[in-house]
């Protein structure tokens, strides 16, 4: 129980959206006559899945620093999207991509400004709808993150991508 509350405190500090979520959930268990809290922002469960996957890389000896910004959208099976981003040499970057359906299978790759795929380290998780990749850009400049949804499912998927640097 204590371990659970410690983990929750840790999560709250890292991700304010979890704070909002927990505030909302805790009230639902209270007397219904009490005033409902003001929910400040809509919880995005898909972004939360990406954040949860990121958690382990944001602590430790050389933690990644998570950016507050991110991207989201909808994608059909068999389609791809490109996200343009400026990366800086000597930094290491990690991207996390999540989609809604647990059966969704994703690709996440990085391309340089010429469209050439760059070497990156793919990281997978227990569930196939979350994937991550790490990259150390050889040069400072514009890069493209390519996300795609495999045709192993039929329905379009909402997606969310976040990133961190160190």
């Amino acid at each position: 129980m204590k371990a659970d509350s410690n983990l929750l405190l840790f999560l709250k500090r890292l991700f304010p959206s979890i704070l909002v979520a927990s505030a909302f959930l805790s009230v639902s268990a209270q007397d219904s006559k009490e005033e409902a809290p003001v929910v400040l922002e809509k919880i995005d469960p898909i972004k939360l899945a990406a954040q949860r996957a990121a958690l382990g890389d944001l602590t430790g000896e050389k933690p990644f620093i998570l950016r507050e910004s991110g991207w989201k959208g909808t994608i059909n099976p068999g389609e791809a999207r490109l996200v343009q981003i400026q990366l800086f040499r000597r930094n290491e970057y990690q991207f996390w991509l999540a989609m809604g359906d647990r059966k969704a299978e994703l690709n996440l790759n990085i391309y340089d400004g010429e469209g050439q795929k760059v070497e990156s380290e793919e990281i997978t998780y227990d569930e196939s709808n979350v994937v991550s990749t790490r990259v150390k850009p050889a040069l400072t400049g514009v890069y493209y993150v390519r996300i795609s949804l495999k045709t192993t499912i039929e329905d379009p998927q909402e997606w969310s991508m976040i990133y961190a640097y160190r």
């Binding site: 507050e68 910004s69 991207w71 791809a80 343009q84 400026q86 800086f88 795929k117 400049g141 493209y144």
Partner: protein, 264 residues
């Protein structure tokens, strides 16, 4: 036998459709490519982190105390908001408690003028409190949250043009500090951090897409001219480096524009 093999190949091919690997190369001029609209501008700390890997830098020299006189021009106030947040990032890098606290108070003042103080207040207060305790990791996170929360709130209030100006101000402040540090301690290796031509093109395009009412006046003509000038300067050589002369020019050009935004 041949038929069986063929069926085997066809089945394997069919399965591979679902597991298709990403291509080794993509044609970036392919009109069918879908590029996500949302742009994420790097924060100064992301760039400073790279430069610090080449050795300790004198970030303290970049912390400036400037008085802000506000007027009714919301576009200028939005750029100032971005500049102040980037000043906060510089002060964090320099671990300057007073500088960060001062910036936190200015954020509150500017947020109030922009009508976003309710959203930003808790972050700004957290910045002030944690800076006092020297908890730089928390301050760093809260600064990024301040910037993102302000942008989210502006989008919600349908102040889209202010979003681009906050981003522009933030980028400008970070680039001014970066180029000033590089100018003082020029290295070929470090200069590659100014290889941001695609980013400056994007910022210029965003700026030029703003409604004319949002960029009317002498200050905004200077913004456009400076971005055009920076576009011509942020071209690297084959190794990715930017010459010392160009770094000096970038430093002067960004400093002049930052001063103009503060003083106009």
């Amino acid at each position: 036998m041949i038929k069986q093999c063929l069926i085997g190949v066809l089945i394997a091919g069919g399965l591979q459709t679902g597991y298709a690997q990403s291509p080794d190369r993509i044609n970036l001029s392919d009109p069918n490519l879908v590029i996500v609209d949302d742009s994420v501008i790097p924060i100064p700390l992301e760039i400073f982190a790279s430069l610090d890997k080449l050795g300790a830098q004198n970030w303290s020299a970049q912390v400036e105390k400037r008085d802000i006189v506000l007027d009714t021009n919301r576009s200028r106030t939005a750029m100032l908001f971005g500049l102040i947040v980037s000043d906060g990032f510089i002060a964090v890098q320099a671990e300057d408690k007073d500088g960060v606290k001062r910036m936190g108070r200015e954020v509150l003042r500017l947020a109030s003028v922009l009508g976003i103080s309710n959203s930003v207040e808790s972050h700004a207060n957290s910045i002030i409190t944690h800076a006092g305790h020297g908890e730089w990791d928390v301050v760093r996170k809260e600064l990024d949250r301040t910037r993102q929360t302000a942008i989210n709130q502006m989008k919600q209030q349908q102040d889209e043009e202010l979003v681009d100006l906050v981003s522009l101000g933030g980028w400008l402040g970070g680039t001014e500090a970066l180029s000033a540090v590089l100018k003082e301690n020029y290295t070929l290796e470090g200069s590659d951090l100014l290889n941001q031509i695609d980013l400056v093109k994007q910022l210029k395009s965003d700026f030029n897409s703003l409604p004319k009412r949002a960029r009317r006046g002498k200050l905004f003509s200077q913004v456009e001219k400076t971005l055009t000038h920076l576009e011509s300067l942020m071209i690297s050589d084959a190794s990715g480096s930017i010459s010392e002369g160009k770094v000096i020019e970038i430093s002067l050009s960004t400093k002049n524009l930052v001063n103009a935004i503060y003083e106009s």
